[in-house]
């Protein structure tokens, strides 16, 4: 058997021990004999919980991560209580303070940091020890001594208003002391908070009885043989019986510097956590400096430990650490705080969303760059922290609805976390896919939301659960999802985003779906991509579009809606829901003649003939003598209406004739998804115009409000007001501009409500109403051309029917 190599770790704190755990989990025990030097005489403990030990909420033994027995079980030699004092790289030896020499093949420096003591008179006694009553707050031993000394004392001062200082203040308060926090800076927790948040936190702390002194530089610790008070640079003084110094930390890099390793603020390491001068020596944790950054939080340390372990064991020689995004969530004296990234905007373009309720102690601030979160502060209410920290960490685009980032609006609050959610909970209500099935699919190796949706069909019904499926897949992957690049494509089979695809189609004059596959997808046809391409090409080329019926979904191929038994439904055009006795008589005759099993009124104020056989379709249409109502297409569907001003005693606008004009204007328009419209003659909104894709509502003064992005299907949403206009003609004009903008910019199968929320009403209003991009005239022209290219598809089909399109069976000579 190959001789094991010697791995020596200097430091037995959280970084050292965690790194060794990671190495062991990669089979490190087979490769290395491991020896650890530890300053403290114990196993390693969770330093983050020290303040809880100080305040009494945890016992000492509750914070141990690895007891001494763990070292034994894993054959690790722990030199507990022995400080490493020297490193000889040339002969690969580490020396202990007692002269013990330990040889190594690989060395890990995890010496952490120690408290920074600012220069102040009277800190120490002549022998160099701290003056009685002066403490730092770093180790279990510090905790014990503070607790012991605090007995019977009245007042304490904490120097330093950072996170650790405030935690120390809270601990001291629990011993019944009156506590003053003395801070050099202008506000508390400068690393995490901005000034406004700092002010609110100060108020909250003072309400809890902690006094906060800002912009105070401590010059001296008073008292001849024990602490009696502090004197500041402005010569003012503060009486106190003890002082805890918590003014920041300083990396322990001496052992590295002493052996000639490069040290700046910390020990400089590369992306594999190796010291830049010696490939056999690594540094990890608070003592390490990576790309100019040093980290004092625990999450970055975990990431570093993983990379180091991957590399030193050879498990993944290409593992690389790229730095961490720092986000933290904590409770300071009962005040909840979450912070991530930067605290102040850095560029003029940075977007700042801010909410402040100083009286109640709430503060929220987000800094957004290019639609992504780069910084955030939450104080008092951190209910949105989990979502925001995830977005921050993964750099995912934020929804346009900024308000919803700070508060839960209207939506029912999430009842349970995914951990708590039972496996049998149904997530996709269309296809009956449970949380458990999604997790099983992830565990079987599908690592992207799209792959999971393809495999389980979750999210492939009405689509309203897609967001949750995404979240569950991310959760089940532990955040390590792979993004399927096709999510950015307009259709999965052509590797282009919608703007790029449109550009390519226009430049190369591709007018048929097969031409797009030939020129833009390497000749590879993709069945699922065909309908989306057909829709887009028709929108772009209008009358010049070269139709290929195989590219269309069956509904749009034969202009009827396929039913569960393979028969079809027929819905003739009845704009505004206005019909006549003669029309009704004709519909009734057709229903009887073709033995239509069900005649039903639709939600769009039309009449549906359900259960028509495919081969009867052309005759049914011909006998009806009415145009198609497009009740099957990803297209303009219909415009319903209330009775309006002629008959209704409340009506203030002529909604019926507006609906008729709208239908004439937009009938047959292909679009990314269906568009359902309505007009209402007064704000009572009887025709539900406010929850339609587009709606027009008459308001007093002869005006019309135009709503866009409403929904009342699998999602329910009140539309946003695009603008208020004076005439039917203007309603048509702005609706037309919006429809064309939607047709050109929405993803395939994105309803208007998703589109409006994704872009934001402000952006859409700017383009469509204020013409901020100078395209309004072109949008109107496109609409006019599409209108001119309209042909009733039923009439086309029954007059020039393509090859046996409607025959149930081809005749076979047998």
């Amino acid at each position: 058997m190959e001789k094991k190599r010697k791995l020596v770790v200097i430091g037995n704190g959280m970084a050292g021990a965690r790194t060794v755990e990671e190495i062991l989990s990669r089979g490190g025990a087979e490769m290395f004999d491991i020896t650890m030097f530890g300053d403290e005489p114990t196993g390693n403990y969770n330093r983050i919980l020290l303040s809880n030990v100080l305040n009494g909420s945890y016992g000492e033994d509750e914070i141990f991560l690895n007891p001494l027995s763990w070292y034994e079980e894993n054959n690790i030699t722990l030199l507990a209580g022995l400080r490493a004092s020297g490193l000889l790289r040339r002969v690969r030896l580490v020396y202990g303070e007692d002269g013990h020499a330990e040889p190594y093949d690989k060395l890990i420096i995890a010496t952490g940091s120690r408290p920074f003591i600012p220069p102040m008179e009277g800190t120490t006694m002549p022998d160099g020890s701290f003056k009685p009553g002066v403490f730092v707050f770093r180790t279990l031993d510090d905790c014990r001594q503070i607790a012991e000394y605090a007995k019977g004392k009245k007042t304490a001062a904490v120097i330093g208003g950072g996170l650790l200082g405030l935690e120390a203040a809270r601990g001291l308060q629990n011993f019944g002391l009156e506590v003053n926090v003395v801070h050099l800076g202008g506000h508390l927790m400068q690393a995490q908070l901005d000034r406004s948040a700092g002010v609110i936190l100060k108020n909250s702390m003072e309400k809890l009885g902690v006094k906060v002194l800002l912009e105070k530089s401590t010059k001296a610790i008073l008292g001849p043989d024990r602490v009696l008070g502090l004197r500041f640079a402005d010569d003012s003084t503060l009486e106190c019986d003890m002082v805890v110094i918590s003014a920041g930390i300083k990396a322990n890099w001496e052992i590295a510097a002493g052996s000639g390793l490069t040290v700046e603020r910390g020990i400089v390491v590369d992306d594999q956590m190796r010291c830049v001068d010696d490939p056999n020596i690594y540094a990890v944790g608070e003592c390490a400096q990576h790309r100019g950054h040093m980290y004092g939080l625990v999450a970055p340390l975990w990431e570093q430990a993983k990379v180091l372990a991957d590399h030193v064991t050879g498990k993944n020689p290409r593992a690389a650490y790229h730095g961490s995004k720092v986000a933290t969530k904590l409770k300071v004296m009962g005040v909840e705080v979450a912070s991530m990234g930067i605290a102040e905007p850095q560029y003029p373009e940075d977007e700042v969303i801010q909410y402040s309720d100083a009286k109640r102690g709430f503060y929220k601030k987000l800094i957004i760059r290019d639609g992504r979160l780069v910084g955030g502060i939450l104080l008092g209410d951190i209910s949105k922290a989990a979502y925001l920290m995830q977005s921050f960490d993964r750099n995912t685009p934020l929804p346009e609805e900024r308000l919803g980032l700070l508060f839960d609006l209207g939506d029912p609050p999430k009842q349970v976390t995914f951990e708590e959610m039972s496996a049998s909970t149904q997530i996709c209500n269309c296809n009956g896919v449970s949380k458990g099935a999604l997790v099983a699919c992830v565990n079987s190796g599908k690592r992207s939301a799209k792959a999971v949706m393809d495999a389980t069909r979750a999210g492939m019904g009405c689509g309203s659960c897609k967001a949750m499926v995404n979240e569950i897949v991310e959760w089940a992957c532990g955040g390590k999802t792979e993004e399927d690049p096709s999510v950015h494509y307009y259709v999965p089979g052509v590797p282009l985003t919608k703007p790029d695809l449109i550009r390519a189609v226009l430049e190369r004059k591709l007018k048929s779906v097969s031409a797009v596959f030939d020129y833009l997808a390497g000749g590879k046809e993709d069945a699922a991509s065909k309908p989306g391409l057909a829709s887009l090409l028709k929108t772009l080329w209008k009358g010049e579009y070269e139709d290929e019926s195989d590219a269309r979904f069956i509904n749009e191929r034969i202009h009827a809606n396929i039913q569960r038994d393979g028969r079809f439904s027929v819905v003739p055009q009845i704009p505004g829901g206005i019909t006549s006795p003669a029309q009704l008589r004709r519909i009734a005759d057709v229903a009887e003649r073709y033995r239509v099993p069900l005649v039903k009124l639709t939600g769009g104020q039309r009449i549906d003939l359900l259960g028509v056989r495919k081969e009867d379709l052309p005759k049914v249409w011909e006998d009806l003598g009415m145009p198609s109502g497009y009740a099957y297409g990803k297209s303009y569907r219909t415009c319903k209406s209330c009775v309006g001003s002629d008959f209704c005693r409340f009506g203030i606008g002529d909604s019926i004739s507006l609906a008729l004009k709208i239908e004439q204007e937009f009938q047959g328009f292909d679009s990314p998804h269906k568009m359902k419209l309505a007009t209402a003659g007064c704000p009572r909104n009887c025709s539900e115009a406010m929850v339609k894709d587009l709606g027009a509502v008459a308001v007093e003064g002869g005006k019309w409000e135009i709503y866009i992005g409403g929904a009342a299907g699998s999602s329910v949403r009140k539309g946003d007001i695009l603008c208020v206009v004076d005439s039917h003609e203007d309603v048509l004009k702005y609706m037309g501009r919006f429809i064309q903008y939607y047709r050109e910019n929405a993803k395939y199968l994105e309803r208007t409500h998703g589109f409006v929320q994704r872009l934001g009403i402000d952006k859409i209003r700017a383009v469509v109403v204020e013409d901020s991009e100078g395209i309004a005239e072109r949008l109107e022209r496109e609409i006019a051309e599409s209108k001119a290219a309209y042909k009733d598809p039923w009439k086309e089909l029954y007059s020039i029917s393509p090859a046996n399109q409607f025959s149930e069976l081809l005749p076979v000579l047998q």
Partner: protein
């Protein structure tokens, strides 16, 4: 070919537009015939094993078929399910020199 198989001439390939499918009735069975844009011809059972959807009305791309009802996906060459729980039966089929589609099917 086993003696139990019968060859049936269905009609000209040109009766099915490229990229589409049509149903035929043969030996008492309904069968969907597809004519891909690449010029190949395939024959499979007419009804989707999921909820009986009419496969001839589905979308075809390359050799992939998507059922129009709930988007189950099949490979036309093997009948294997690409999305869904079970596959479909396929039948040997070819195009004769005269452009006629010839289906091979077991005799009743």
């Amino acid at each position: 070919m086993t003696p139990a198989m019968a060859e049936i001439e269905i009609g000209p390939l040109s009766a099915i537009p490229p990229g589409e499918g049509r149903n035929i009735q043969a030996q008492g069975r309904k069968i969907a015939i597809f004519h891909t844009r690449a010029g190949a011809v395939f024959a499979v059972q007419a009804e989707c094993p999921h909820r009986g959807g009419p496969l001839a009305d589905g979308l075809v791309g390359g050799t992939t078929l998507i059922c129009p009802l709930h988007a189950w996906k099949f490979d036309l060459t093997t009948g294997a399910a690409l999305l869904g729980d079970c596959g479909i039966k396929t039948f040997p089929v070819r195009v004769g020199e005269d452009g006629q589609i010839i289906l091979m099917i077991d005799s009743p």
